[in-house]
């Protein structure tokens, strides 16, 4: 169960997208997501989808692997679809008691699915093609200006990187403890909510203790290796923009330009359609 989470896992491959500077991918993903929210008409989504599919092909990550990430959020997607279909007022095409489905509802649901899929796939492309370390490096460097207003950027990036390293270790540990307590007759699948919460204590307490023990060990090990904050630190792999990164920024700019242009055009079109009615 715990092992099925693929969202956020790195997939090793030799692709132009893997080689990009993490900052390009961070900025790209962010702009892409924003563009989906601002320009929400069918023409723009077509452009966004084509753009995303091109990127997917470039990453060399198998499509089924990427779609596995969607499984985790399937429930949320279904929920929004149902919500949209049944609760959007408009021209009803089907009615049964208090349930009614409107044309607008269906349209909204379809849009929602497309948008969510694009959003999630674009976010997972970033994590699938960037090692967590490069990602935190990217975040650290991208947000460096925030240091001026006393945001501890280096510390937060280091924290993220450590958290990411320990997620698989703690998951494995949780699995072990669960098995050990099951062998002592513990039940984790009680029907009653309160029993269920109670039954988690034999799992949560040891897990917390273990996490604290690991944290204090790690702190010692870091100190022994001369860690003393971000001051005066150098990097083995400093981030430097290469030609490919500049090209990507240009492509990104062109994509945004196309979205804006089509967005404005289709808004005008709708306006004229409205006038000519």
């Amino acid at each position: 169960m715990l092992k099925d989470v693929t969202l956020g896992q790195y997939y090793q491959a030799d692709s132009p997208i893997h080689k990009l500077d993490p900052r390009v991918k961070l900025v790209g993903t962010l702009l892409y997501m924003i563009s989906l929210f601002i320009f929400n008409n069918i023409y723009c989504y077509a452009i966004a989808a084509v753009f995303l599919i091109t990127v997917i092909i470039l990453t060399k990550v198998p499509v089924w692997y990427m779609l596995k990430g969607l499984k985790a959020v399937l429930f949320i997607m279904l929920f929004t679809v149902v919500f949209n279909i049944f609760f959007t007022p408009g021209e009803y095409i089907f009615e049964f008691g208090i349930f009614h489905i409107s044309r607008e509802g269906i349209k909204g649901a379809v849009f929602m699915i497309i948008r969510l899929t694009l959003l999630i796939v674009s976010a997972s492309i970033m994590t699938l093609t960037t090692t967590p370390n490069r990602l935190t490096d990217g975040i650290e460097k991208l947000f460096r200006p925030l240091k001026l207003i006393k945001v501890p950027v280096h510390e937060m990036a280091m924290m993220m990187s450590i958290a990411l390293r320990f997620i698989p270790i703690l998951m494995e540990e949780a699995d072990k403890i669960m098995k050990a307590q099951t062998a002592r007759g513990a039940k984790f699948d009680s029907k009653k909510f309160m029993d269920r919460v109670k039954s988690l204590i034999p799992l949560i307490v040891p897990l917390f203790i273990s996490a604290f023990r690991r944290a204090s060990d790690l702190a010692l090990a870091m100190e022994a290796r001369c860690y003393h904050g971000g001051e005066g630190r150098t990097k083995m792999k400093p981030l430097k923009y290469k030609a490919g990164d500049i090209v990507s920024y240009v492509i990104l700019a062109l994509y945004i330009a196309a979205m804006v242009a089509v967005g404005i055009l289709s808004a005008r079109l709708a306006f004229f359609q409205f006038l000519s009615k």
Partner: protein
Amino acid sequence: MPIITDHLTYVYGSKTTLQKTALNDVSVKIDDGQFIGLIGHTGSGKTTFLQLLAGLIKPASGTVYLDGEDIYAKDFDKRTLRSKLGIVFQYPEHQLFEETVFKDVCFGPKNLGVDDKETELRAYEALKMIGLEDEVFYQSPFDLSGGQKRRVAIAGVLAMKPKILILDEPTAGLDPAGRNDILGLILKLQKEQGMTIILVSHSMEDVAEYADRVLVMDKGSIVFDNTPREVFKHHEELKELGLSVPQVSVAMSKLREKGLPVKTDAITVEEAVKEIIRVLR
């Protein structure tokens, strides 16, 4: 209460990702009161085998019979299994969670549905058995020393009064004295209470000293199943599996090579001493 595994197989990974057979068609019978030493290098399938015996994971095919009952049958009550078979995992002290030592040991029997009085009696007995002093009973388990925590965790399993006790490297990380304490306790449980013991160990010396029967695992299969004396004759084969034989065993072979006419089947220090003295006198 014999355990029989019937063509037991376990496969890791789902259909979409890489599949790996962790246990491959294992059929063995373990009789009452035996002391089994289970050896094999890391990743040979030992832990998977133990978890299958304890009903903690589902086999891909095959099954386990405990007392003639299929433990993976739909109508089998897992509680029966838990009350008959106890398992002590690696670093078992990492499962302690209660406020006091005594409460933690009560956790197992309570889950079995044993009444309060009986639970407390069992917990008391178990703690006595592992040799913990009374004044520690109501302390927090987290204040104890490493060796004490380990023993409390074992008591937590013993309080469930299993007839079969599985231990996965119960002495890992302990010093020699701590190691001997735990092994002595296990031997006592087998000899005095007639418990069946399945002990996973990396120490060939310990296995040679305590086990009546040794199972050697490699790549998910059992490759040797015999008395320690017979198994440890296979120096070369065991070496190829990333395992070794007791040091005295190596010494006896070496002595024979050097022309001393000793028998090479000694596996403990006492046996080796007797044999060398016999030849030299």
